[in-house]
Symmetry: C3
């Protein structure tokens, strides 16, 4: 089963955003969600449709307000949002315009993208959750339209979902071409083979590198300059596996086929080459467990949601008065 | 008062470049200059005009020599420099060409930029000081024209000044759109809310990230890959405050609403999550004070001017014979 | 003698890829190969021609297969590969298209590049070795055409070779303009004065910065986010010298005019400001010798070939069970 399958939305409902308690998040079924995700039920499917329409309607409303405030953007908003029939065509068009070049016209890319987005419902489901994630976790995000039009981490992630579809269907040449255009245009280099869940925030995003056999769970927040890298030149499973709810700080390198447990937090600038237990915090170069190996401090909130980069780390690093 | 206001140019005259003594730089009035800057006098205003004209005349002379040496560039130099009436129109046009896209034509952007640059004199004042800063501190800089046409750190900084003007005047949608084009084109992601002083060098610049409530003082040098980041997802004042004369080495993360004192030096690859006293050097992950907490070594030169990344650090790091 | 001169290909033949033994690699003549490289013999020259034709013929075959699999790419492949007479014109055209802008038309750049590539045989020799290096060391590389069309590290390196030719021939204005377009388009900032050997892999490449007086030997692998930086603002020799066969992990900063010995390995995220002996491993911030100063562990394989980022480091970093 693909990692981009929708997760049980019930388990998400157990996570009130006021609280961010981890207790119910870390149920046995969601631990290492990267392995235990299950397909969505009929009820969830209908919720999905409503949700998707809600997002698209909201985006169109926001766009209408924006062009009243800034008529200078009318043409841009018309082409990108207001003239589009569906969220699928809007996304296909916007990605195509961004990734096109003299060699790859936007019409060619747009046709290709829209076919994939209309046939692969999991991409649209995940994309909607990504939009929500950016809105909820990034205080710099003004609106859905703001994220959709501008956030290169969001756009790079959606382009990757398309490239992953192509890769999984044997169209490797196109997949790697998209990967490389995304790397040129957004500075984000995700191998099309990588499996990425939903509810993903790639914040700022410049310099992110994700290798071929990496797996990223659901509700993960990754800052710019993060590497999920391999080691050695052998083929085969050689990249990190990131659990659900993980927060990875800016400039961190995680190398090799190692597990980062659900709800773990990796401090900025860390170098991680060994497994990290669930709900713990590691930091430093080399990364060390906050609280020590035998009794590491356990996080009681989901770090990818709180986006708290320094809790526990701050006390640990008592180096300046 | 805005941080981009001109500083007292007299205090700059007290800093002979042969000497770089800090004694007069760190006067009470300039300490945490981010809070104590005062508006320029009439004398300074007239000096400003002369200075600006000097820079513009010098750039045109350099451009004329360049096209004699490389006729291949005649058309490019004509459009960018030689046909332009003022430094304002030249900058507006050059930024517009760089940041334009299918969706945002360069004429639209150029009209917008020139209106802002002609009305906001502080931007042009700061821009001129940035040009000087690059010329004085970066040995790889050949000429003013070289910097003006090519240095993406310089161009990203000027685009930010325009975006900050828009942001401060309530035109947030345009401001964040410029922010994101700068992030795509130059790999530099500065939130338009951030306040940045003058005499700024963003060297190499790829991967720089500056958050919404960050404040950067005057005469600061920041290398590529530096993050001035927030922590948590709450709105409000959450990013670093960088004093005057600070040097921040490549790849460093400074996180949270903490002060980096005037004239401090942060070594490359550091992670800083606590206040750094003025004129001290911190380095490492986690960053540590060189000389120790109780008796840190005090710098006697302005690190952003000397660009000396290893003095004191080198002795401290005696790890290889 | 230029560092981009061909190395003795016999010494390469002594390195069976199954083995990667260092014994014959680290002969006295190849130690600090950056200083001791010698020009190629007549025999090697004829080998070069055959090799180059082999690569070009192979690329055309691959391209023909690719367009059968993906007819959508026919036009792109025709212009980039299939209609090109030689590898020189193909490279000149492809780089020109990537680096062109409104200000710098691709035809102007293409004419300039093809003249340099057809007159400077060392560039084509080095480029061919770079293609081989990517194919041999990067498991994500599908084919020669895949690398040639897409890998921004590869393309940035070739653009640098052209810019270095211009710089060495006194055409500094054009050289720095190419440098800065490469920095904008690929996020790779290599000063045109830097000397770079052959068989170079710049993997992922975003954020790489190489200073003016840096020297990189042969068969070197450098990951994204690596800085070979200077210190201070004085002109003169101020950047690192990287020996043959070195592997530099992601996000590492090497600062100042220091030597990194042949066959050394620098772990990801390291900060290196002192000399590193040949065949040793350093890691951390500040970087430390694995095994200690007096008895560092010596590598018996060439790290740039094995691309093993964690051997020895993993044991050293026993911080999580």
């Amino acid at each position: 089963m693909s990692v981009s399958s929708p997760v049980d939305t019930n388990s998400k409902n157990l996570l009130p955003h006021d609280d961010h308690s981890c207790e119910k998040f870390f149920t046995p079924s969601s631990r290492y969600g990267i392995n235990t995700l299950h397909t969505s039920s009929v009820v969830e499917q209908s919720e999905k449709v409503e949700d998707e329409n809600y997002v698209w309607m909201k985006m169109q409303e926001e766009a209408k307000v924006d062009v009243i405030v800034e008529p200078i953007l009318s043409s841009y908003y018309y082409v990108s949002i207001l003239s589009q029939k569906t969220l699928e065509t809007a996304l296909a068009n916007h990605l195509a315009v961004k990734l096109s070049s003299v060699s790859l016209p936007s019409t060619t890319l747009s046709d290709l993208f829209v076919r994939i987005l209309e046939s692969d419902k999991e991409i649209m489901y995940a994309m909607k959750n990504d939009l929500k994630a950016v809105n909820e976790r990034d205080p710099a995000c003004i609106s859905h339209v703001h994220c959709f039009l501008n956030f290169k981490g969001f756009l790079a992630c959606q382009a990757h979902r398309v490239a992953h579809n192509l890769w999984s269907n044997g169209r490797k040449i196109l997949a790697v071409m998209i990967q490389n255009r995304v790397s040129e245009v957004f500075g984000v280099d995700i191998h099309p083979g990588a499996k990425i869940g939903s509810g993903i925030l790639l914040d700022h995003a410049t310099g992110i590198v994700v290798g071929e056999t990496a797996v990223i769970g659901n509700d993960v927040s990754i800052l710019h300059g993060v590497t999920l890298g391999g080691t050695g030149k052998a083929h085969g499973d050689r990249h990190p596996k990131i659990g659900d709810g993980v927060l990875i700080g800016a400039g961190t390198c995680i190398l090799g086929n190692i597990k980062i447990g659900d709800g773990a937090k990796i401090g900025a600038g860390s170098v991680v080459i060994k497994e990290v237990p669930p709900r713990t915090t590691v930091v430093g170069n080399p990364a060390k467990l906050i609280g020590g190996k035998n009794n590491p401090i356990k996080l009681d909130k989901i770090p990818s949601h709180t986006m708290d980069h320094v809790a526990h780390i701050s006390e640990f690093y008592d180096y300046v008065i």
